[in-house]
């Protein structure tokens, strides 16, 4: 765990006289320093060993109890946890900000593995609505089908469903990659802002509706394009990237990615500028 110490260096804001209070006790601020390796882990993250493996039967637990048990096992150093009998329960495996191998032997309900940052998750079953919502990093693999809002608002990581997914996959997506082996429903990529979605099967109506940015690749038929979603030519770098990504996802072994349809934002819906966020900061 990070060691809380009062920073003796004056920050830029303090040296400019913008604030003068002295922080003490629990109100101490800690400023990010990339030279300190500990800054790349969350405070309270556990040092786990992937070779230390255990099973957790959640049949008679509610989601809070199950999640507390996962946390407790991580605190004991278990780096590989196999969850038995999830039986479609909601909100299992949420909020894990740790490196971890998490395996579910069965299906999850709503909000499964939401708000995670770092774990490698495999679900040997199906997931309900809003799987991996707000995921920051890590890899999640669903062996069967997924419900609607798959990967809603994810910021990073790889989210893979080997079956088919419901409506609004990647809604509000802000980064990362969503890969679907089967078909996807309506409003795929709805209001997505960044990141990539790969659908090997067909997609429903209103694909990429109101997308700000990001890229959607579709292998099958498209029900219809949403507002401001337009087709764009495939480039060699698209094809190379798709091949690499599908190989990692263990999907589409003989799939001809060059024939996929690439969909991007037409950027006409609002006063859109092409600046990257970092460039925007500089301009401000």
């Amino acid at each position: 765990m990070a060691n809380l110490k009062t920073s003796e260096k004056k920050t830029k804001a303090q040296s400019m006289g913008l604030h003068s209070e002295v922080l003490t006790g629990k109100t101490q601020q800690k400023f990010f320093n990339p030279d300190e390796a500990e800054n790349f882990f969350y405070w309270g993250a556990y040092d786990v060993d992937f070779n230390k493996r255990t099973d957790l039967d959640v049949k008679d637990m509610d989601c809070k109890e199950a999640n507390r048990n996962i946390d407790e096992l991580m605190s004991q150093g278990y780096g590989t946890i196999v969850i038995k009998n999830p039986q479609g329960k909601h909100s299992l495996g949420v909020g894990i900000l740790n490196k971890l191998n998490l395996i579910f032997e069965g299906s999850l309900g709503y909000f499964g593995v939401g708000s995670i940052d770092g774990p490698m998750v495999r679900v040997n079953g199906r997931v309900g609505w809003s799987c991996a919502e707000n995921m920051m990093a890590g890899k999640v693999v669903i062996e069967k089908n997924a419900g609607s809002c798959f990967g809603a608002a994810i910021r990073g990581g790889d989210l893979i469903c080997k079956g088919m997914v419901g409506a609004r996959t990647g809604i509000d997506q802000k980064g990362g990659t969503i890969i679907v082996g089967g078909d996807a429903g309506a409003f795929t990529g709805f209001m997505m802002q960044r990141g990539r979605i790969i659908i090997l099967g067909d997609v429903g109506i209103n694909l990429g509706d109101s997308m700000y940015d990001g890229t959607i690749y579709v292998g099958g038929k498209i029900g219809s394009f949403g507002s401001d979603a337009v087709e764009s030519p495939m480039t060699k770098s698209d094809i190379d990237w798709l091949k690499r990504k599908l190989k990692v996802a263990e999907l589409g072994e003989n799939f001809d990615v060059s024939k996929m349809t690439k969909v991007v934002s037409g950027k006409k819906l609002w006063n859109y500028d092409a600046l990257e966020p970092t460039e925007k900061k500089g301009a401000i």
Binding site: Q87, G88, K89, H90, G106, S107, G109, Y110, G125, R126, G128, W129, K144, N145, A146, G147, S148, G163, M164, V165, G166, A167, R168, D183, G185, A186, F187, G204, I205
Partner: protein
């Protein structure tokens, strides 16, 4: 929010009362106000079963006006007199609560006229008429309603049910689901969602002679389908037509004496998880409803937007 569940056994009967109770109880968090069952039971198929109520449940958070229980007996007597006048022969009668009844009867004339006459009696509402449909709804969760009406041992082929969170109308039995597809025998509907063109459609349908008993938007689906079927459409045709005719967000189930159907709006805004095998179809707003009767690992999926499916027993 509301939770809906349904199941159909193909080629055999099962304990659908108990199965649906488990499914709806698993969805209690989606709707704690009232629970309704439409069970297609193993009756002899010769006589009509009429479920009706002569008042409201005024306890358990009800929004209904309190009444003296003595009015229930007066209204029941009026119903009995009306049945005699209409030529219906009551073979068996059960009083399940002070305000709700189950009559087994013989009747051979027009059900629409029959229903109009019965419902012209103050505060009397027919919940269902059918030769296999048993429609039960009341305030409370699935276990409470099942226990109150003795549904745990009801055997049958298929069933649909609803756990209601009241958003569009009051907490009372008349607004609870399922809704009977008046005036068709053995037709029932449950719905999760909101319909935004309720009043436009209601006015149109009332002008065509259809009746509404509540101000619950979901009742529109039952009446809408009934009107389509009255004009010769099949159930599936009526359901497909409803995707364009009904505005809003919805997933609904409809059941007849030998079939079960589902429809999902074109926005796919309301959830539905479906399990389908050769001998059983089970579906619900959440997977935990299906898991409550099928705990083993199974393959389920979300139907897509604008999807309509109908299964036969």
């Amino acid at each position: 929010m509301c939770g809906i569940a349904g199941l159909i056994h193909r080629g055999k009967s099962s304990n659908v009362g108990s199965e649906l109770q488990h499914m709806l109880q698993a969805l209690k968090h989606r709707g704690p106000d009232s629970t309704g069952y439409a069970l297609y039971a193993e009756n002899d198929g010769q006589n009509f079963i009429m479920r009706f109520k002569v008042g409201e449940n005024v306890g358990e958070g009800s929004t209904s006006v309190n009444e003296d229980a003595s009015v229930y007996d007066k209204r029941k007597k009026l119903v009995d007199n009306m049945l005699t006048e209409l030529g219906a022969k009551v073979l068996k009668e059960d009083r399940l609560t002070p305000y709700s009844f189950r009559y087994e009867m013989q009747f051979n004339n027009d059900l629409m006229e029959f229903s109009k006459k019965i419902e012209s009696i103050e505060s009397v509402e027919i919940l269902s008429i059918g030769k296999s449909l048993e429609l039960i709804k009341d305030l409370g969760d699935a276990e409470t309603v099942s226990e109150r009406y003795g549904l745990g041992n009801v055997k049958g082929t298929h069933a649909i049910g609803h756990a209601r969170m009241a958003t569009e109308s009051g907490v009372d039995i008349k607004s609870a689901h399922p809704f009977w597809g008046y005036p068709f025998s053995d037709v029932s509907v449950v719905h999760n969602g909101q319909l935004t063109n309720y009043w436009n459609n209601r006015r149109l349908l009332e002008n065509k002679g259809m009746r509404f008993m509540s101000e619950c938007d979901s009742e529109l689906i039952a009446v809408y389908l009934a009107e389509k079927m009255r004009n010769g459409a099949t159930l599936e045709e009526g359901m497909k037509d409803s995707l364009a005719g009904l505005d809003g967000v919805f997933t609904y189930f409809v059941a007849t004496k030998d079939s079960l159907g589902m429809a999902k709006d074109t926005m796919a805004a309301k959830p539905l998880v479906l399990y389908e095998s050769d001998d059983l179809v089970a579906m619900g707003s959440e997977e935990i409803a299906i898991r409550s009767i099928l705990p083993q690992e199974i393959d389920t999926y979300d139907p897509f937007d604008g999807e309509v499916k109908v299964w036969q027993i």
